[in-house]
Protein backbone atom coordinates (compact mmCIF):
# COMPACT_ATOMS: atom_id res chain seq x y z
CA UNK A 1 0.00 0.00 0.00
CA UNK A 2 1.48 3.34 -0.94
CA UNK A 3 1.47 6.20 1.49
CA UNK A 4 -1.04 8.20 -0.54
CA UNK A 5 -3.51 5.35 -0.54
CA UNK A 6 -3.05 4.80 3.16
CA UNK A 7 -3.60 8.48 3.92
CA UNK A 8 -6.70 8.53 1.75
CA UNK A 9 -8.07 5.44 3.43
CA UNK A 10 -7.40 6.87 6.91
CA UNK A 11 -9.13 10.08 5.88
CA UNK A 12 -12.08 8.10 4.63
CA UNK A 13 -12.52 6.26 7.91
CA UNK A 14 -11.60 8.95 10.37
CA UNK A 15 -12.45 12.23 8.72
CA UNK A 16 -15.49 12.90 10.89
CA UNK A 17 -13.63 12.18 14.12
CA UNK A 18 -10.83 14.46 13.00
CA UNK A 19 -13.27 17.16 11.98
CA UNK A 20 -14.87 17.04 15.41
CA UNK A 21 -11.60 17.44 17.29
CA UNK A 22 -10.09 19.92 14.82
CA UNK A 23 -11.32 23.11 16.56
CA UNK A 24 -9.82 22.09 19.88
CA UNK A 25 -6.53 21.02 18.35
CA UNK A 26 -6.39 24.23 16.37
CA UNK A 27 -7.10 26.48 19.34
CA UNK A 28 -4.72 24.63 21.64
CA UNK A 29 -2.05 24.55 18.96
CA UNK A 30 -2.20 28.27 18.24
CA UNK A 31 -2.80 29.62 21.72
CA UNK A 32 -0.84 27.15 23.82
CA UNK A 33 1.56 25.42 21.44
CA UNK A 34 2.98 28.52 19.84
CA UNK A 35 3.30 30.57 23.04
CA UNK A 36 4.87 27.61 24.80
CA UNK A 37 7.57 27.19 22.16
CA UNK A 38 8.03 30.92 22.11
CA UNK A 39 8.19 31.01 25.93
CA UNK A 40 10.90 28.39 26.01
CA UNK A 41 12.75 30.37 23.36
CA UNK A 42 12.40 33.65 25.27
CA UNK A 43 13.75 31.99 28.39
CA UNK A 44 16.96 31.35 26.47
CA UNK A 45 17.42 35.00 25.51
CA UNK A 46 17.89 38.29 27.33
CA UNK A 47 14.58 39.80 26.15
CA UNK A 48 13.12 42.64 28.18
CA UNK A 49 10.95 45.66 27.68
CA UNK A 50 13.78 47.67 26.15
CA UNK A 51 14.91 45.30 23.42
CA UNK A 52 11.88 43.45 22.06
CA UNK A 53 10.22 44.36 18.81
CA UNK A 54 7.88 47.26 19.36
CA UNK A 55 6.23 50.29 17.82
CA UNK A 56 6.76 53.75 19.21
CA UNK A 57 4.49 56.14 17.39
CA UNK A 58 5.06 55.43 13.72
CA UNK A 59 8.54 54.04 14.21
CA UNK A 60 8.97 50.33 14.16
CA UNK A 61 11.88 49.12 16.27
CA UNK A 62 13.19 45.64 15.47
CA UNK A 63 14.07 43.20 18.22
CA UNK A 64 17.64 43.45 19.45
CA UNK A 65 17.72 40.79 22.17
CA UNK A 66 20.13 37.94 21.73
CA UNK A 67 20.41 34.28 22.49
CA UNK A 68 22.10 33.67 25.83
CA UNK A 69 21.71 29.94 26.29
CA UNK A 70 21.02 28.76 29.80
CA UNK A 71 22.17 31.98 31.49
CA UNK A 72 18.69 32.82 32.77
CA UNK A 73 18.26 29.43 34.34
CA UNK A 74 21.68 29.65 35.95
CA UNK A 75 20.86 33.07 37.33
CA UNK A 76 17.44 32.04 38.63
CA UNK A 77 18.60 28.79 40.21
CA UNK A 78 21.63 30.28 41.94
CA UNK A 79 19.67 33.27 43.21
CA UNK A 80 18.06 32.71 46.61
CA UNK A 81 14.75 34.30 45.55
CA UNK A 82 13.63 31.31 43.52
CA UNK A 83 14.25 28.85 46.35
CA UNK A 84 12.54 31.12 48.89
CA UNK A 85 9.49 31.40 46.67
CA UNK A 86 9.53 27.67 45.96
CA UNK A 87 9.64 26.89 49.69
CA UNK A 88 6.64 29.10 50.38
CA UNK A 89 4.80 27.78 47.33
CA UNK A 90 5.20 24.23 48.62
CA UNK A 91 3.98 25.21 52.10
CA UNK A 92 1.08 27.08 50.50
CA UNK A 93 0.10 24.18 48.23
CA UNK A 94 0.40 21.44 50.83
CA UNK A 95 -1.30 23.55 53.50
CA UNK A 96 -4.19 24.57 51.28
CA UNK A 97 -4.82 21.20 49.68
CA UNK A 98 -4.44 19.34 52.98
CA UNK A 99 -6.79 21.61 54.91
CA UNK A 100 -9.29 21.84 52.08
CA UNK A 101 -9.40 18.08 51.72
CA UNK A 102 -9.73 17.44 55.47
CA UNK A 103 -12.48 20.00 55.94
CA UNK A 104 -14.26 18.88 52.78
CA UNK A 105 -14.11 15.25 53.86
CA UNK A 106 -15.40 16.03 57.36
CA UNK A 107 -18.28 18.11 56.08
CA UNK A 108 -19.16 15.60 53.36
CA UNK A 109 -19.36 12.86 55.98
CA UNK A 110 -21.54 15.05 58.19
CA UNK A 111 -23.91 15.75 55.32
CA UNK A 112 -24.07 12.21 54.01
CA UNK A 113 -26.84 11.07 56.38
CA UNK A 114 -30.44 11.79 57.14
CA UNK A 115 -30.37 15.13 58.83
CA UNK A 116 -32.81 17.91 59.41
CA UNK A 117 -31.94 20.95 57.31
CA UNK A 118 -29.58 18.99 55.05
CA UNK A 119 -30.50 20.96 51.94
CA UNK A 120 -30.01 24.24 53.76
CA UNK A 121 -26.56 23.24 55.02
CA UNK A 122 -25.55 21.98 51.60
CA UNK A 123 -26.59 25.20 49.89
CA UNK A 124 -24.93 27.37 52.54
CA UNK A 125 -21.71 25.41 52.35
CA UNK A 126 -21.37 25.59 48.57
CA UNK A 127 -22.20 29.31 48.45
CA UNK A 128 -18.51 30.35 48.30
CA UNK A 129 -18.29 28.46 45.04
CA UNK A 130 -21.22 30.32 43.50
CA UNK A 131 -19.55 33.67 43.85
CA UNK A 132 -16.73 34.63 41.49
CA UNK A 133 -13.42 34.18 43.28
CA UNK A 134 -12.23 37.73 42.76
CA UNK A 135 -15.36 39.08 44.42
CA UNK A 136 -14.78 36.87 47.45
CA UNK A 137 -11.16 37.90 47.60
CA UNK A 138 -12.11 41.57 47.64
CA UNK A 139 -14.65 40.85 50.35
CA UNK A 140 -12.01 39.16 52.44
CA UNK A 141 -9.71 42.11 51.93
CA UNK A 142 -12.45 44.25 53.40
CA UNK A 143 -12.93 41.90 56.36
CA UNK A 144 -9.17 41.76 56.94
CA UNK A 145 -8.73 45.56 56.89
CA UNK A 146 -6.43 46.27 59.80
CA UNK A 147 -7.90 49.51 61.12
CA UNK A 148 -11.56 49.14 60.28
CA UNK A 149 -12.20 45.57 59.23
CA UNK A 150 -14.96 43.66 60.94
CA UNK A 151 -12.61 40.91 62.13
CA UNK A 152 -10.48 43.30 64.14
CA UNK A 153 -13.54 45.14 65.43
CA UNK A 154 -14.91 41.85 66.71
CA UNK A 155 -11.58 41.05 68.33
CA UNK A 156 -11.50 44.51 69.89
CA UNK A 157 -14.94 43.78 71.32
CA UNK A 158 -13.37 40.78 73.02
CA UNK A 159 -10.50 42.91 74.28
CA UNK A 160 -7.94 41.50 71.87
CA UNK A 161 -5.46 43.74 70.06
CA UNK A 162 -5.84 44.33 66.35
CA UNK A 163 -4.24 41.62 64.23
CA UNK A 164 -2.23 42.86 61.21
CA UNK A 165 -3.94 40.28 58.95
CA UNK A 166 -2.31 41.31 55.70
CA UNK A 167 0.53 43.53 56.88
CA UNK A 168 2.68 41.13 58.85
CA UNK A 169 4.53 38.44 56.87
CA UNK A 170 3.41 35.52 59.05
CA UNK A 171 -0.19 36.66 59.49
CA UNK A 172 -0.41 37.44 55.78
CA UNK A 173 0.63 33.88 54.97
CA UNK A 174 -2.00 32.44 57.29
CA UNK A 175 -4.61 34.84 55.93
CA UNK A 176 -4.09 33.95 52.28
CA UNK A 177 -4.21 30.24 53.11
CA UNK A 178 -7.44 30.75 55.04
CA UNK A 179 -9.07 32.52 52.09
CA UNK A 180 -7.96 29.87 49.63
CA UNK A 181 -9.28 27.10 51.86
CA UNK A 182 -12.56 28.98 52.19
CA UNK A 183 -12.74 29.15 48.39
CA UNK A 184 -11.72 25.54 47.82
CA UNK A 185 -13.85 23.61 50.32
CA UNK A 186 -17.11 23.64 48.30
CA UNK A 187 -15.53 21.90 45.32
CA UNK A 188 -14.07 19.20 47.58
CA UNK A 189 -17.34 18.89 49.44
CA UNK A 190 -19.41 18.41 46.29
CA UNK A 191 -16.96 15.97 44.71
CA UNK A 192 -16.56 13.91 47.89
CA UNK A 193 -20.29 13.93 48.58
CA UNK A 194 -20.78 12.53 45.09
CA UNK A 195 -18.24 9.84 45.91
CA UNK A 196 -19.89 9.03 49.24
CA UNK A 197 -23.36 8.59 47.78
CA UNK A 198 -21.96 6.06 45.31
CA UNK A 199 -20.80 3.75 48.12
CA UNK A 200 -23.51 1.10 48.57
CA UNK A 201 -25.23 1.30 51.97
CA UNK A 202 -25.22 -2.50 52.23
CA UNK A 203 -21.48 -2.43 52.87
CA UNK A 204 -22.01 -0.39 56.03
CA UNK A 205 -24.82 -2.63 57.21
CA UNK A 206 -22.71 -5.74 56.72
CA UNK A 207 -19.79 -4.17 58.55
CA UNK A 208 -22.04 -3.10 61.38
CA UNK A 209 -23.38 -6.62 61.69
CA UNK A 210 -19.80 -7.83 61.98
CA UNK A 211 -19.35 -5.42 64.86
CA UNK A 212 -17.24 -2.72 63.18
CA UNK A 213 -17.23 0.61 65.02
CA UNK A 214 -17.69 3.99 63.31
CA UNK A 215 -13.95 4.57 62.92
CA UNK A 216 -13.37 1.11 61.47
CA UNK A 217 -16.24 1.61 59.05
CA UNK A 218 -14.75 4.94 58.00
CA UNK A 219 -11.27 3.51 57.50
CA UNK A 220 -12.24 0.28 55.79
CA UNK A 221 -15.27 1.27 53.74
CA UNK A 222 -15.43 5.03 53.31
CA UNK A 223 -11.76 5.70 52.57
CA UNK A 224 -11.30 2.92 49.98
CA UNK A 225 -14.64 3.85 48.43
CA UNK A 226 -13.52 7.43 48.02
CA UNK A 227 -10.10 6.66 46.65
CA UNK A 228 -10.88 7.16 42.96
CA UNK A 229 -12.61 10.49 43.49
CA UNK A 230 -10.15 11.79 46.03
CA UNK A 231 -7.05 10.94 44.04
CA UNK A 232 -8.41 12.93 41.12
CA UNK A 233 -9.56 15.92 43.15
CA UNK A 234 -6.32 16.04 45.10
CA UNK A 235 -4.28 16.09 41.92
CA UNK A 236 -6.51 18.73 40.33
CA UNK A 237 -6.56 20.88 43.41
CA UNK A 238 -2.79 20.61 43.83
CA UNK A 239 -2.31 21.88 40.31
CA UNK A 240 -4.90 24.64 40.75
CA UNK A 241 -3.47 25.77 44.08
CA UNK A 242 0.08 25.73 42.80
CA UNK A 243 -1.03 28.02 39.98
CA UNK A 244 -3.52 30.01 42.08
CA UNK A 245 -2.98 33.48 40.80
CA UNK A 246 -6.01 35.61 41.78
CA UNK A 247 -6.08 34.96 45.53
CA UNK A 248 -2.57 36.16 46.17
CA UNK A 249 -2.46 38.79 43.46
CA UNK A 250 -5.65 40.48 44.60
CA UNK A 251 -5.34 39.96 48.36
CA UNK A 252 -1.78 41.04 49.03
CA UNK A 253 -0.14 41.65 45.63
CA UNK A 254 2.48 39.28 46.99
CA UNK A 255 3.21 41.56 49.93
CA UNK A 256 4.15 42.58 52.53
CA UNK A 257 7.52 42.73 50.76
CA UNK A 258 7.33 39.50 48.82
CA UNK A 259 6.28 37.33 51.76
CA UNK A 260 3.23 35.79 50.09
CA UNK A 261 4.56 35.76 46.53
CA UNK A 262 4.20 32.25 45.05
CA UNK A 263 6.09 31.22 41.92
CA UNK A 264 3.29 32.14 39.51
CA UNK A 265 2.64 35.60 40.90
CA UNK A 266 6.36 36.33 41.05
CA UNK A 267 6.80 35.38 37.40
CA UNK A 268 3.85 37.64 36.53
CA UNK A 269 5.41 40.43 38.53
CA UNK A 270 8.66 40.09 36.60
CA UNK A 271 7.00 40.60 33.25
CA UNK A 272 4.04 42.87 33.98
CA UNK A 273 4.58 44.78 37.22
CA UNK A 274 8.29 45.39 37.71
CA UNK A 275 10.00 47.97 35.61
CA UNK A 276 11.78 47.33 33.29
CA UNK A 277 9.67 44.33 32.40
CA UNK A 278 11.95 41.31 32.27
CA UNK A 279 10.36 38.93 29.77
CA UNK A 280 13.17 36.41 29.57
CA UNK A 281 13.59 35.82 33.28
CA UNK A 282 9.83 35.57 33.68
CA UNK A 283 9.73 32.97 30.91
CA UNK A 284 12.49 31.01 32.64
CA UNK A 285 10.43 31.00 35.84
CA UNK A 286 7.43 29.81 33.86
CA UNK A 287 9.33 26.92 32.31
CA UNK A 288 10.65 25.91 35.72
CA UNK A 289 7.12 25.98 37.14
CA UNK A 290 5.90 23.77 34.32
CA UNK A 291 8.75 21.30 34.88
CA UNK A 292 7.99 21.16 38.62
CA UNK A 293 4.29 20.51 37.99
CA UNK A 294 4.99 17.80 35.46
CA UNK A 295 7.30 16.07 37.94
CA UNK A 296 4.62 16.25 40.64
CA UNK A 297 1.98 14.83 38.30
CA UNK A 298 4.18 11.98 37.11
CA UNK A 299 5.30 11.03 40.62
CA UNK A 300 1.72 11.17 41.85
CA UNK A 301 0.50 8.92 39.04
CA UNK A 302 3.31 6.46 39.74
CA UNK A 303 2.35 6.33 43.41
CA UNK A 304 -1.28 5.71 42.49
CA UNK A 305 -0.38 3.00 40.03
CA UNK A 306 1.64 1.20 42.68
CA UNK A 307 -1.48 1.03 44.80
CA UNK A 308 -3.27 -0.61 41.91
CA UNK A 309 -5.19 2.38 40.56
CA UNK A 310 -6.10 2.14 36.91
CA UNK A 311 -6.20 5.86 36.32
Amino acid sequence: MTLAVRVRRALGTHWYAWTMVAPVVLVIGVIIGYPLVRGVFLSLTDANEANVERNIGVNHLPATYKFTGLDNYKAVLTDGVFWDRLGWTVVWTVGCVGLTFLIGLTLANMLNRTLRGRTFYRLALILPWAIPAFISVFTWRMLYNEKNGILNKLLAGGGIDAVPWLNDPTWAKLSVIAVNVWLGVPFMLVALLGGLTSIPGELYEAAEMDGAGPWQRFRNITMPGLRAVSSTVILLSTIWTFNMFPVIFLLTRGGPGDATEILVTYAYRLSFVDSPRNFSESAAWGVLILVLLSVVAVVYRRALRKQGEVW
Partner: protein
Protein backbone atom coordinates in the same frame (compact mmCIF):
# COMPACT_ATOMS: atom_id res chain seq x y z
CA UNK B 1 -33.90 9.34 50.92
CA UNK B 2 -36.16 6.45 50.06
CA UNK B 3 -36.80 5.80 46.43
CA UNK B 4 -39.90 3.92 45.43
CA UNK B 5 -39.98 1.51 42.56
CA UNK B 6 -43.38 0.24 41.48
CA UNK B 7 -44.77 1.08 44.87
CA UNK B 8 -42.22 -1.07 46.62
CA UNK B 9 -40.06 0.60 49.23
CA UNK B 10 -36.43 -0.37 49.11
CA UNK B 11 -35.65 -2.85 51.86
CA UNK B 12 -32.68 -0.79 53.05
CA UNK B 13 -34.33 1.63 55.55
CA UNK B 14 -34.66 -0.92 58.36
CA UNK B 15 -30.89 -1.25 58.53
CA UNK B 16 -30.01 2.35 57.77
CA UNK B 17 -32.40 3.79 60.29
CA UNK B 18 -30.57 1.96 62.99
CA UNK B 19 -27.28 3.32 61.79
CA UNK B 20 -28.61 6.82 61.49
CA UNK B 21 -30.06 6.91 64.94
CA UNK B 22 -27.80 9.22 66.86
CA UNK B 23 -27.58 9.88 70.51
CA UNK B 24 -28.85 13.28 71.45
CA UNK B 25 -25.41 14.83 72.21
CA UNK B 26 -24.06 13.52 68.92
CA UNK B 27 -26.96 15.10 67.09
CA UNK B 28 -26.45 18.44 68.82
CA UNK B 29 -22.73 18.31 68.14
CA UNK B 30 -23.36 17.57 64.48
CA UNK B 31 -25.71 20.50 64.09
CA UNK B 32 -23.41 22.87 66.00
CA UNK B 33 -20.48 21.94 63.77
CA UNK B 34 -22.53 22.35 60.62
CA UNK B 35 -23.96 25.67 61.76
CA UNK B 36 -20.49 27.01 62.48
CA UNK B 37 -19.29 25.86 59.05
CA UNK B 38 -22.35 27.38 57.39
CA UNK B 39 -21.82 30.71 59.17
CA UNK B 40 -18.18 30.82 58.08
CA UNK B 41 -19.24 30.06 54.51
CA UNK B 42 -22.10 32.55 54.37
CA UNK B 43 -20.78 35.44 56.43
CA UNK B 44 -18.37 37.10 53.95
CA UNK B 45 -20.85 37.31 51.06
CA UNK B 46 -23.58 38.37 53.47
CA UNK B 47 -21.39 41.10 54.91
CA UNK B 48 -20.61 42.27 51.39
CA UNK B 49 -24.32 42.55 50.69
CA UNK B 50 -24.95 44.45 53.95
CA UNK B 51 -22.08 46.83 53.40
CA UNK B 52 -23.29 47.69 49.91
CA UNK B 53 -26.45 49.23 51.39
CA UNK B 54 -24.59 51.44 53.84
CA UNK B 55 -23.76 55.05 53.13
CA UNK B 56 -20.25 55.36 51.78
CA UNK B 57 -18.73 56.76 54.96
CA UNK B 58 -20.19 53.94 57.05
CA UNK B 59 -18.64 51.21 54.93
CA UNK B 60 -16.67 49.93 57.88
CA UNK B 61 -19.19 50.37 60.65
CA UNK B 62 -19.76 47.16 62.55
CA UNK B 63 -23.50 47.41 62.88
CA UNK B 64 -26.10 46.24 60.45
CA UNK B 65 -27.45 48.92 58.13
CA UNK B 66 -28.62 51.98 60.03
CA UNK B 67 -29.13 54.34 57.10
CA UNK B 68 -30.34 52.12 54.31
CA UNK B 69 -29.36 53.56 50.95
CA UNK B 70 -29.00 52.69 47.28
CA UNK B 71 -26.44 55.49 46.83
CA UNK B 72 -23.59 53.07 46.16
CA UNK B 73 -25.55 51.37 43.43
CA UNK B 74 -26.67 54.54 41.71
CA UNK B 75 -23.14 55.92 41.94
CA UNK B 76 -21.63 52.79 40.41
CA UNK B 77 -24.21 52.58 37.63
CA UNK B 78 -24.38 56.24 36.75
CA UNK B 79 -20.97 57.76 37.46
CA UNK B 80 -18.49 55.04 36.60
CA UNK B 81 -17.66 52.93 33.57
CA UNK B 82 -19.24 49.95 35.30
CA UNK B 83 -21.89 49.31 32.65
CA UNK B 84 -19.24 49.30 29.94
CA UNK B 85 -17.21 46.74 31.87
CA UNK B 86 -20.32 44.70 32.42
CA UNK B 87 -21.10 44.76 28.72
CA UNK B 88 -17.51 43.78 27.88
CA UNK B 89 -17.69 40.89 30.31
CA UNK B 90 -21.03 39.69 28.99
CA UNK B 91 -19.75 39.69 25.41
CA UNK B 92 -16.55 37.86 26.30
CA UNK B 93 -18.14 35.37 28.66
CA UNK B 94 -21.15 34.71 26.44
CA UNK B 95 -19.02 33.96 23.39
CA UNK B 96 -16.63 31.86 25.44
CA UNK B 97 -19.43 29.79 26.93
CA UNK B 98 -21.24 29.10 23.66
CA UNK B 99 -18.10 28.29 21.69
CA UNK B 100 -16.47 26.46 24.57
CA UNK B 101 -19.41 24.15 25.23
CA UNK B 102 -19.80 23.43 21.55
CA UNK B 103 -16.21 22.48 20.81
CA UNK B 104 -15.83 20.66 24.13
CA UNK B 105 -18.90 18.61 23.22
CA UNK B 106 -17.70 17.67 19.73
CA UNK B 107 -14.28 16.75 21.07
CA UNK B 108 -15.71 14.79 23.98
CA UNK B 109 -18.01 12.94 21.61
CA UNK B 110 -15.27 12.07 19.16
CA UNK B 111 -13.02 10.82 21.95
CA UNK B 112 -15.82 8.85 23.55
CA UNK B 113 -17.15 7.15 20.39
CA UNK B 114 -14.43 6.79 17.82
CA UNK B 115 -11.06 5.11 17.88
CA UNK B 116 -8.92 7.21 15.65
CA UNK B 117 -5.20 7.79 15.15
CA UNK B 118 -4.10 10.63 17.42
CA UNK B 119 -6.70 9.94 20.09
CA UNK B 120 -4.36 9.03 22.93
CA UNK B 121 -2.03 11.99 22.36
CA UNK B 122 -5.10 14.20 22.28
CA UNK B 123 -6.31 12.90 25.65
CA UNK B 124 -2.89 13.56 27.10
CA UNK B 125 -2.84 17.00 25.58
CA UNK B 126 -6.17 17.81 27.21
CA UNK B 127 -4.93 16.61 30.57
CA UNK B 128 -1.59 18.38 30.40
CA UNK B 129 -2.89 21.75 29.22
CA UNK B 130 -4.79 21.97 32.49
CA UNK B 131 -1.55 22.27 34.36
CA UNK B 132 -0.07 25.03 32.29
CA UNK B 133 0.74 27.95 34.51
CA UNK B 134 -0.42 31.35 33.35
CA UNK B 135 3.14 32.50 33.83
CA UNK B 136 4.72 30.54 30.95
CA UNK B 137 2.11 31.51 28.43
CA UNK B 138 1.21 35.02 29.33
CA UNK B 139 4.14 36.92 27.79
CA UNK B 140 4.26 35.02 24.48
CA UNK B 141 0.49 35.15 24.31
CA UNK B 142 0.59 38.88 24.92
CA UNK B 143 3.04 39.26 22.04
CA UNK B 144 0.99 36.96 19.82
CA UNK B 145 -2.22 38.89 20.45
CA UNK B 146 -0.38 42.15 19.94
CA UNK B 147 0.90 41.06 16.54
CA UNK B 148 -2.59 39.87 15.56
CA UNK B 149 -4.03 43.19 16.73
CA UNK B 150 -6.22 41.43 19.29
CA UNK B 151 -5.09 43.22 22.46
CA UNK B 152 -7.98 45.16 23.98
CA UNK B 153 -10.32 43.16 21.75
CA UNK B 154 -12.95 40.80 23.17
CA UNK B 155 -11.95 38.18 20.57
CA UNK B 156 -8.46 37.96 22.04
CA UNK B 157 -9.78 37.17 25.50
CA UNK B 158 -12.35 34.72 24.15
CA UNK B 159 -9.70 32.63 22.41
CA UNK B 160 -7.53 32.72 25.50
CA UNK B 161 -10.35 31.63 27.79
CA UNK B 162 -11.25 28.77 25.47
CA UNK B 163 -7.86 27.25 26.11
CA UNK B 164 -8.43 27.39 29.86
CA UNK B 165 -11.96 26.00 29.84
CA UNK B 166 -12.10 23.56 26.94
CA UNK B 167 -9.61 20.89 28.06
CA UNK B 168 -11.41 20.28 31.35
CA UNK B 169 -14.85 20.49 29.72
CA UNK B 170 -13.94 18.09 26.92
CA UNK B 171 -12.74 15.65 29.55
CA UNK B 172 -16.01 15.98 31.46
CA UNK B 173 -18.13 15.66 28.32
CA UNK B 174 -16.31 12.46 27.43
CA UNK B 175 -17.36 11.07 30.81
CA UNK B 176 -20.95 12.04 30.01
CA UNK B 177 -21.03 10.57 26.53
CA UNK B 178 -19.57 7.35 27.91
CA UNK B 179 -22.74 6.94 29.99
CA UNK B 180 -25.03 7.29 26.95
CA UNK B 181 -25.60 3.88 25.34
CA UNK B 182 -23.94 3.30 21.96
CA UNK B 183 -27.18 1.70 20.71
CA UNK B 184 -28.57 5.20 20.29
CA UNK B 185 -25.82 6.06 17.84
CA UNK B 186 -26.41 2.81 15.99
CA UNK B 187 -30.13 3.44 15.66
CA UNK B 188 -29.29 6.84 14.21
CA UNK B 189 -26.98 5.28 11.68
CA UNK B 190 -29.67 2.75 10.71
CA UNK B 191 -32.05 5.63 10.10
CA UNK B 192 -29.56 7.09 7.69
CA UNK B 193 -28.07 9.91 9.75
CA UNK B 194 -24.39 10.69 9.24
CA UNK B 195 -22.15 10.91 12.32
CA UNK B 196 -22.74 14.66 12.68
CA UNK B 197 -26.49 14.19 12.44
CA UNK B 198 -26.41 11.46 15.08
CA UNK B 199 -24.38 13.67 17.35
CA UNK B 200 -26.48 16.77 16.82
CA UNK B 201 -29.99 15.29 16.79
CA UNK B 202 -29.76 12.27 19.07
CA UNK B 203 -26.83 12.36 21.46
CA UNK B 204 -26.53 16.05 22.24
CA UNK B 205 -30.11 16.40 23.52
CA UNK B 206 -29.51 13.46 25.87
CA UNK B 207 -26.35 15.04 27.21
CA UNK B 208 -28.12 18.18 28.41
CA UNK B 209 -27.06 17.80 32.08
CA UNK B 210 -23.46 17.45 30.94
CA UNK B 211 -23.82 20.52 28.75
CA UNK B 212 -25.21 22.42 31.72
CA UNK B 213 -22.22 21.53 33.84
CA UNK B 214 -19.64 22.38 31.19
CA UNK B 215 -21.49 25.57 30.38
CA UNK B 216 -21.50 26.47 34.05
CA UNK B 217 -17.83 25.69 34.42
CA UNK B 218 -16.92 27.75 31.37
CA UNK B 219 -19.09 30.63 32.48
CA UNK B 220 -17.64 30.74 35.97
CA UNK B 221 -14.06 30.38 34.78
CA UNK B 222 -14.39 33.17 32.28
CA UNK B 223 -16.49 35.43 34.52
CA UNK B 224 -13.90 35.21 37.31
CA UNK B 225 -10.64 35.19 35.36
CA UNK B 226 -8.19 37.85 36.52
CA UNK B 227 -4.65 37.37 35.23
CA UNK B 228 -5.20 37.47 31.46
CA UNK B 229 -7.89 40.09 31.76
CA UNK B 230 -5.62 42.39 33.75
CA UNK B 231 -2.74 41.94 31.34
CA UNK B 232 -4.51 42.05 27.96
CA UNK B 233 -7.18 44.67 28.52
CA UNK B 234 -6.11 48.20 29.33
CA UNK B 235 -7.84 51.54 29.24
CA UNK B 236 -11.03 52.24 31.20
CA UNK B 237 -13.38 51.44 28.34
CA UNK B 238 -11.83 48.05 27.53
CA UNK B 239 -11.73 46.52 30.99
CA UNK B 240 -13.80 43.56 31.96
CA UNK B 241 -15.37 43.32 35.41
CA UNK B 242 -12.36 41.64 37.03
CA UNK B 243 -10.15 44.49 35.90
CA UNK B 244 -12.71 47.19 36.59
CA UNK B 245 -13.32 46.15 40.15
CA UNK B 246 -9.63 46.60 40.88
CA UNK B 247 -9.92 50.29 40.04
CA UNK B 248 -12.18 50.99 43.02
CA UNK B 249 -9.74 49.79 45.64
CA UNK B 250 -6.03 50.11 44.89
CA UNK B 251 -3.05 52.04 46.15
CA UNK B 252 -4.62 55.35 45.08
CA UNK B 253 -8.29 55.06 45.93
CA UNK B 254 -10.26 53.36 48.65
CA UNK B 255 -13.85 53.46 47.49
CA UNK B 256 -15.16 50.46 49.38
CA UNK B 257 -18.77 51.57 49.02
CA UNK B 258 -18.69 51.43 45.22
CA UNK B 259 -16.64 48.26 45.35
CA UNK B 260 -19.26 46.41 47.37
CA UNK B 261 -22.15 47.56 45.20
CA UNK B 262 -20.31 46.60 42.02
CA UNK B 263 -19.35 43.27 43.57
CA UNK B 264 -22.95 42.46 44.38
CA UNK B 265 -24.08 43.25 40.84
CA UNK B 266 -21.29 41.03 39.49
CA UNK B 267 -22.01 38.17 41.87
CA UNK B 268 -25.75 37.95 41.14
CA UNK B 269 -25.58 36.58 37.57
CA UNK B 270 -22.92 34.10 38.60
CA UNK B 271 -24.99 32.93 41.55
CA UNK B 272 -28.07 32.55 39.32
CA UNK B 273 -26.18 30.45 36.80
CA UNK B 274 -24.84 28.44 39.69
CA UNK B 275 -28.29 27.85 41.15
CA UNK B 276 -29.44 26.69 37.75
CA UNK B 277 -26.56 24.27 37.27
CA UNK B 278 -25.97 23.02 40.80
CA UNK B 279 -28.57 20.22 40.48
CA UNK B 280 -26.40 18.62 37.82
CA UNK B 281 -23.14 19.49 39.45
CA UNK B 282 -22.59 16.44 41.60
CA UNK B 283 -23.42 14.02 38.83
CA UNK B 284 -21.38 15.96 36.30
CA UNK B 285 -18.30 16.22 38.43
CA UNK B 286 -18.23 12.61 39.48
CA UNK B 287 -18.86 11.43 35.92
CA UNK B 288 -16.04 13.63 34.74
CA UNK B 289 -13.55 12.87 37.45
CA UNK B 290 -13.95 9.19 38.10
CA UNK B 291 -13.84 8.09 34.49
CA UNK B 292 -10.57 8.78 32.79
Amino acid sequence: MTRKHNGRVRPAPAGTRKRNQRSRPASVGLHVALIIAAVVAVFPPLWLLITSFKPRNDAFSTGVVTHFTFANYTHVLADTEFLTWFKNSVVVVGLTTVLGVFIAATTGYAVSRFRFPGMRPLMWLLLITQMFPVAVLIVPLYNLLASLGLLNQPAGLVITYLTIAVPFCAWMMKGYFDTIPVEIDESGRVDGLNPFGTFWRLVLPLARPGLAVTGFYTFVTAWAEVAYASAFMTGEENLTLAGGLQTFVNQYTNDWGSMTAAAVIIAVPAALVFAFAQRHLVAGLTAGTTKG
